[in-house]
C-alpha cells in the first residue's frame, strides 16, 4: 500500500527520485532563497516554459507578462514583467520564489507553489468542494519547479 502510494507520487512528480525534497523539508535562507535543487535533476527550460504558460500547470502568465512568450495570448499584470529575470536573479533566489514566494516577499499575492497545508478553507482543486485529504498535493511538483527555474534563467535582455 505504502509502496503503491510512493509509486503514484513518483509518477505524478514525473522525474522524482529518492533525492526529491518534500514540501515540508525545503530549507529557505533568511532572504527566502533555496540553495539545494529540489530533485537533484537539472531543470528542463522547454518544459518549464510549458509549466509557465499553461493554465492547468503554473499559469504564471496569468499574473506575469513575458516578452519572450509572444505566442502565448493574454499576459497578466498583477505581478512584475519577467522578461529580464534571468539577468537579475540567481537560480537559488528563483527556486525560493517559485516554491514559496511569501518567504521572499512578505504577504505576497503570488501563490505558494510547493506547499501542502496551512490553508484557510482549502478546496479540491477548482471544484469548489471540500478537499479529499488533509494535505493537498502541491500546485507544482518538485521537477516542475526546477524546470520553471531553468526557464526563468533563460529570460535575459540580449
Amino acid at each position: 500500500m505504502r509502496l503503491l502510494t510512493i509509486t503514484a507520487a513518483m509518477l505524478v512528480a514525473g522525474m522524482a527520485t529518492a533525492e526529491t525534497v518534500a514540501p515540508a523539508d525545503v530549507q529557505f535562507d533568511e532572504d527566502g532563497a533555496v540553495a539545494v535543487s529540489l530533485t537533484g535533476q537539472p531543470g528542463d527550460a522547454a518544459r518549464g516554459r510549458d509549466v509557465f504558460a499553461t493554465k492547468s500547470k503554473g499559469n504564471c502568465v496569468s499574473c506575469h507578462a513575458v516578452a519572450q512568450l509572444a505566442d502565448v495570448p493574454f499576459h497578466g499584470e498583477v505581478g512584475p514583467e519577467l522578461s529580464w529575470t534571468g539577468d537579475n536573479r540567481s537560480a537559488e533566489e528563483l527556486r525560493g520564489i517559485v516554491a514559496d514566494a511569501k518567504m521572499t516577499f512578505e504577504g505576497s499575492m503570488m501563490p505558494s507553489f510547493y506547499k501542502t497545508k496551512g490553508y484557510i478553507r482549502p478546496g479540491d482543486a477548482y471544484t469548489g468542494k471540500a478537499p479529499k485529504t488533509d494535505e493537498l498535493p502541491p500546485l507544482l511538483s518538485a521537477q516542475d519547479i526546477e524546470d520553471v527555474v531553468a526557464f526563468l534563467l533563460t529570460l535575459q535582455e540580449s
Binding site: K55, N59, V61, S62, C63, A65, A67, Q68, L69, A70, D71, V72, P73, F74, H75, G76, E77, V78, E81, S83, M109, P111, S112, Y119, I120, R121, P122, G123, D124, A125, Y126, T127, G128, K129, A130, P131, L136, L139, E157
Partner: protein
C-alpha cells in the same frame, strides 16, 4: 528589441490585453435609454477610508461592445427575464390564491428604492434579509406557495424586476445598528485569503482593479449591477453565484448560495457599492 516583442504580444493578444499599459477604468459615461444618467464613479463611502478613494462600477472595465448592451433596454438581454418576472408577479400561486400584485399592486410604484437598501435588517424576523429572502418570505408565509431555490431562474428574475425599479438610485445599504455584526462578518470574509491560492476578494478587487489577470480585466467586484446578465452563460446571475465562482477560483471550498456566510458577504460588498447607481439588470461578459 524589447519594444518590438511587446508589440508582437499586443497583436497576438488581439489588443484586448496589452501588457502592463492597460490602465484601469475607462472614462465613458452611462446614460440608459438616452435619459437616465447613472453614477458609475463616485467618492468611496466613509467605511472604505484608507482602502479605496473612489468606487467604480464594473461597467467601466468591460469592452465597448459589452458596455453598449446595457445602454438601451431593447439591447439588454436581461430585460427578457424582467418581463418573465412581471408575468409571475401577476399570477396567483399557493394555498392563499394570491399574486404578488394583489398586495403590492404596480411594482413601478411599490418597489421603488427597495433594491438600493438591501440586504437589510428585518426587525420582526430578527435577521438580515436579501431581496430573495424577502420574496420567499412573502411566498411561504403570505401566499402559501413554496420557496424558490436561491439564485435559481425565477428567484433571480424576480430580483431583477424588483431591482429595475431602483435603477439610477444610489445604493444606500445600512451597516450600523443590528446589521453591524453581519457586516463585520462579511468584512472579515472579504479580507481573508482562502483556498490553495490564498487569495482574498481584496487581493483581486481592491489591490488590483484595473489590472489584467490573464484575459480578465479586474474590476472592483461591485454588486450595484446585480442580478447581472452574463454573455458567458447567457442568463441572469445572482450575487451569491458570482461570489461562489470567485471563491472557487481561489481553489477553496465555496459556500452555498443563500447561506449565512454569503448573506453577510453580500451585505458587506453591497455597502462598498454605496453611492453607485443601481444598474440592475447590468450586462457583463
Amino acid at each position: 528589441m524589447t519594444f518590438k516583442a511587446l508589440t508582437a504580444i499586443a497583436l497576438v493578444a488581439g489588443l484586448s490585453a496589452p501588457l502592463a499599459m492597460a490602465g484601469g477604468a475607462d472614462d465613458d459615461t452611462m446614460v440608459i435609454n438616452d435619459e437616465t444618467e447613472m453614477v458609475t464613479k463616485t467618492a468611496a463611502p466613509a467605511h472604505l477610508d484608507g482602502a479605496v478613494d473612489e468606487v467604480i462600477s464594473g461597467w467601466h472595465f468591460r469592452s465597448d461592445e459589452t458596455q453598449s448592451l446595457q445602454l438601451d433596454d431593447f439591447d439588454n438581454p436581461g430585460m427578457i427575464f424582467v418581463d418573465q418576472a412581471m408575468d409571475v408577479w401577476n399570477t396567483a400561486e399557493g394555498s392563499e390564491g394570491k399574486a404578488c400584485a394583489d398586495c403590492h399592486n404596480d411594482p413601478a410604484e411599490t418597489m421603488v428604492g427597495v433594491k438600493a437598501t438591501y440586504p437589510k435588517w428585518n426587525e420582526e424576523a430578527g435577521e438580515v434579509r436579501t431581496v430573495q429572502m424577502q420574496v420567499n418570505d412573502c411566498r411561504v408565509n403570505r401566499m402559501g406557495a413554496e420557496a424558490w431555490k436561491y439564485d435559481a431562474g425565477k428567484a433571480v428574475s424576480m430580483e431583477a424586476m424588483i431591482s429595475l425599479h431602483s435603477r439610477g438610485m444610489p445604493m444606500s445599504v445600512a451597516i450600523d445598528g443590528p446589521a453591524a455584526a453581519m457586516w463585520e462578518k462579511g468584512k472579515e470574509m472579504y479580507y481573508t485569503r482562502t483556498g490553495q491560492l490564498e487569495l482574498s476578494c481584496a487581493n483581486c478587487h481592491e489591490d488590483n482593479y484595473g489590472n489584467y489577470i490573464r484575459a480578465d480585466h479586474l474590476s472592483q467586484g461591485q454588486i450595484n449591477g446585480f442580478p447581472v446578465y452574463r454573455l458567458k452563460n447567457a442568463k441572469l446571475n445572482g450575487v451569491h453565484s458570482r461570489f461562489k465562482g470567485c471563491v472557487r477560483d481561489t481553489r477553496a471550498e465555496t459556500y452555498s448560495p443563500g447561506s449565512e456566510d454569503f448573506i453577510a458577504l453580500e451585505l458587506y460588498v453591497a455597502s462598498r457599492s454605496n453611492g453607485l447607481s443601481v444598474e440592475s439588470p447590468s450586462v457583463r461578459n
